[in-house]
Amino acid sequence: MSSFALKTALPAYLHDEQLKMEAYARGFGLDFFPTVFEVLSYDQMNEVASYGGFPVRYPHWRFGMEYEQLSKSYEYGLSKIYEMVINNTPSIAYLLEGNSMVEQKLVMAHVLAHVDFFKNNFAFAVTDQGKNPETGAPLRKWIDTMANDGAVVRRWANRVGIEKVEEFVDQCLSLENLIDPHKPFSPATATRKGMVEFEGEDKTPTPETPRLRVDHDYMEGFINPPAFMDAQRKKTADDLEKAKKFPERRDRDVLGFLLDHAPLEAWERDVLAVIRREAYYFAPQMQTKIMNEGWATYWHSKIMTEKACDASEIIDYADRTAGVLATAKGQINPYKLGVELYRSIEERWNKGQFGKEWEDCDDLDARRNWDRRLGQGRKKLFEARSLYTDVTFVDEFLTPDFVAEQKMYTFGYSQRNNRWEIETRKFQEVKQKLLERLTNGGNPFIYVEDANQGNRGELLLTHEHMGSDLRVDYAKEVLRSLVRVWKRPVEVQTVVDGKKTLLRFDGQEHLQRALT
């Protein structure tokens, strides 16, 4: 077990409870990593939460800001962190000191389901750091990794100064979301090179070597002698080499590209590598927010109501769960949406409400009473938690009935009334909008297009416009950060108000110009 900065052993009575909860969870078929629970006081909890769950991370003021907000809102009684769990082997989960027994049990059940999800959902496989040689179980020593990274950054901070390092971390954090979550990623063997895609034969024609004009064939050997022709051939080949675009194919892993090709000092490279590693570590959690929280909520309510609660606790339990599942206007509560989707899957596959026959059935009455008694619900649930991420999950399992039942709607900003309004409850549009919000974690798609733009070593990025503009003021600040890293002018091609636009920053001033 990893050694810890905080001394927070679990007291015996909670340990007993943990064993019981684990037995219930296993009984339902959940399959989780060994899980270590620790008890924290509220300010330790706030501290650890500020660091995103990791007690030891690189130093940065942003964590201090997070802490200020968390502790304020705790002191004023606005919010309280019940639970936190880290995707690690063993998984580490934190309990809040002074919580009631019902709350601790609920958190344990919730956490065990999260850990099951970490272990079994395919998206989290990219956080594996090799295998345990004895058991073959995946190894995820992320607490240690982050602590090491933290130590590296701290050491650099001692060498070059904390202000310098922190300022650079600020820049890197601006670029944090410029990664490609689909890039096969394994930190242990993080080689970006050597990924080959076969595209068939080379279709670019070889250009002809230029030669001087010859009026009479017999003069050929004199006007264009072999030595001259060789020189010419070499020159065209060189030109061709120069004209080759770099990178050859556009690259969505902007952070990785900068890491490989930007002129960075050793300490800058280390800092950037840390930020990128963390971005990839957190990516699966962004991709599965709805699924992950839904799964944990589904199982904590199952375990609590069927096994763990006694009669005196059930009201308290229901009260806590109601708080978790509350919906607010203009927001999707991932806990609520997730758990309802899982429940709908379970019901549909129990009753056989899927497949061609079901889809083709128009008879409302028949649909209502449709029950083939297949009993495949539980099996389908486990399959879903393994094989989907939020985008594919919603795409696959969101049905018109579900949207109607859950009263889902889309909303948008009405220029006319100067306010946010409900737009529609039509299934297709709700689904469309929801998928838009989930795709790439709600982040724009940005690619490295050309790293030698205009043969001046300038960096050109493109934003793939899919209906929404970038926030220009933010984009300009990001360009500033990019220039800091790339050390040459950087531009991004995007669309503003329906017009193709180039945003450029050359280290001195910003330029915004419409492209024709």
């Binding site: 003021w61 889309t410 306010r419 409900i422």
Partner: protein, 384 residues
């Protein structure tokens, strides 16, 4: 069950120094920088006054955000859950553009409230306006001695006997010696068991600086003028408080006659009489004579008015009191003239003319709120 939980305490969970303290400290220093940048705005808008607690001021600063490539909000919209027809507004407070944000995607416009102690605020003010520290004019530093019972001793007078401790020690000794009989639980303390309360003498500095605020509350001083005085006095208070261990403030209002009031009344009162400035100066001189021997006190009379006085004679009387009584006793005398549509603004000219070359007198014209910063610098920039 919960009882067990409450009893369960580990030595390390008490407030130990946390790792976050460093990061938090650097965040605070960034905040400090922000406050300094915006200080002039805070001063001229006066919005900090309403946010003052006992020792802290809560300051709203724009959320410090890390810029990223992200979508503009208005085009985007999102998906929600709940009742309502199409065209219905999302609830009231969502209208500021909060809608559709999931956690972690918050709008950039949220203000962050940070609490800053008055001392820190004064320090920021001092840095920003480059105010010199004030030399305590060699006047005796007064300290109050105060005894507090904080410790335990083995000897002492019987009147200070600590019964519980004594009992405990006696019990312990008797159990240790095997002379304790639970059936006949009689405890007899010996001399070694006796414990007594003991005290420590704390030295508390007592106030040795006083600000005498005087303000003209005649009809010509409007609400805006008073607001300016209020803002200015807030900052003067904050600065001088940070310079002296203890600071007293006294308030005098005057129209044709002067009287002493409390802080609230000072800023609220509106009279409609004429103006006799000398009445206030007389009262101030009286106060100094009675309560603040000038050998021991740093005295700061501040007078704010719109510059109207009843008569030339009265103005001469003022000058006379200043020269004879106020100036010799004070560190400096500050006169702030707030421009009002009714005041003639004559008084400041008279002061300047009659007291030319006396650097104990500082005069400042405060045209509007934006001039407050400059006027604070004029008053406090001499380091007296």
């Amino acid at each position: 069950m919960t009882v067990v939980a409450l009893r369960h305490r580990r030595p390390y969970t008490d407030r130990v120094s946390l790792r976050i303290d460093q990061d938090h400290g650097r965040f605070r220093s960034i905040v400090r920088g922000r406050i300094r940048q915006n200080l002039r705005k805070y001063i001229s808008q006066g919005e900090l006054l309403g946010r003052q607690g006992k020792d802290v001021v809560s300051i709203p600063i724009p959320q410090i955000d890390i810029p990223r490539f992200r979508y503009g909000d208005k085009q985007q919209g999102g998906v929600g859950q709940g009742d309502g027809d199409s065209g219905d507004p999302l609830s009231g407070e969502e209208q500021e553009g909060e809608g559709g944000k999931k956690a972690g995607q918050g709008e950039g416009q949220h203000a962050l409230e940070v609490e800053v102690t008055l001392d820190e605020l004064a320090a920021i003010l001092g840095e920003e306006l480059a105010l010199p520290n004030i030399e305590n004019k060699g006047k005796a530093k007064l300290v109050n001695k105060k005894d507090r019972y904080v410790g335990i001793r083995r000897v002492g007078p019987n009147s200070l006997r600590h019964f519980k401790r004594t009992f405990r020690h006696a019990l312990r000794r008797q159990i240790g010696m095997g002379t304790y009989d639970p059936k006949r639980p009689i405890i007899i303390p010996t001399r070694d068991d006796m414990r007594y309360r003991s005290w420590k003498t704390d030295e508390e500095p007592i106030a040795n600086a006083v600000i005498l605020y005087m303000m003209d509350v005649s009809g010509s001083m409007g609400d805006e003028q008073k607001e300016i005085v209020r803002i200015e006095s807030f900052w003067i208070d904050a600065w001088l408080r940070s310079q002296y261990k203890g600071l007293e403030t006294r308030f005098i209002i005057h129209d044709a006659a002067a009287r002493e009031v409390d802080r609230d009344t000072f800023f609220r009162t509106r009279e409609s009489g004429g103006t006799m400035i000398s009445s206030a100066y007389k009262l101030a001189a009286q106060m100094i004579e009675n309560d603040y021997p000038s050998g021991e006190w740093n005295i700061y009379p501040f007078h704010f008015s719109d510059g109207d006085n009843w008569s030339v004679d009265d103005t001469l009387a003022c000058i006379d009191i200043l020269k004879q009584k106020l100036l010799p006793a004070s560190n400096m005398f500050c006169y702030g003239q707030v421009e009002s549509p009714y005041g003639s603004g004559q008084f400041i000219k008279d002061l300047r003319e009659h007291l030319k070359g006396d650097d104990r007198v500082i005069t400042s014209e405060i045209r509007d709120r934006d001039a407050i910063v400059g006027s604070i610098r004029e008053f406090l920039g001499k380091g007296r």
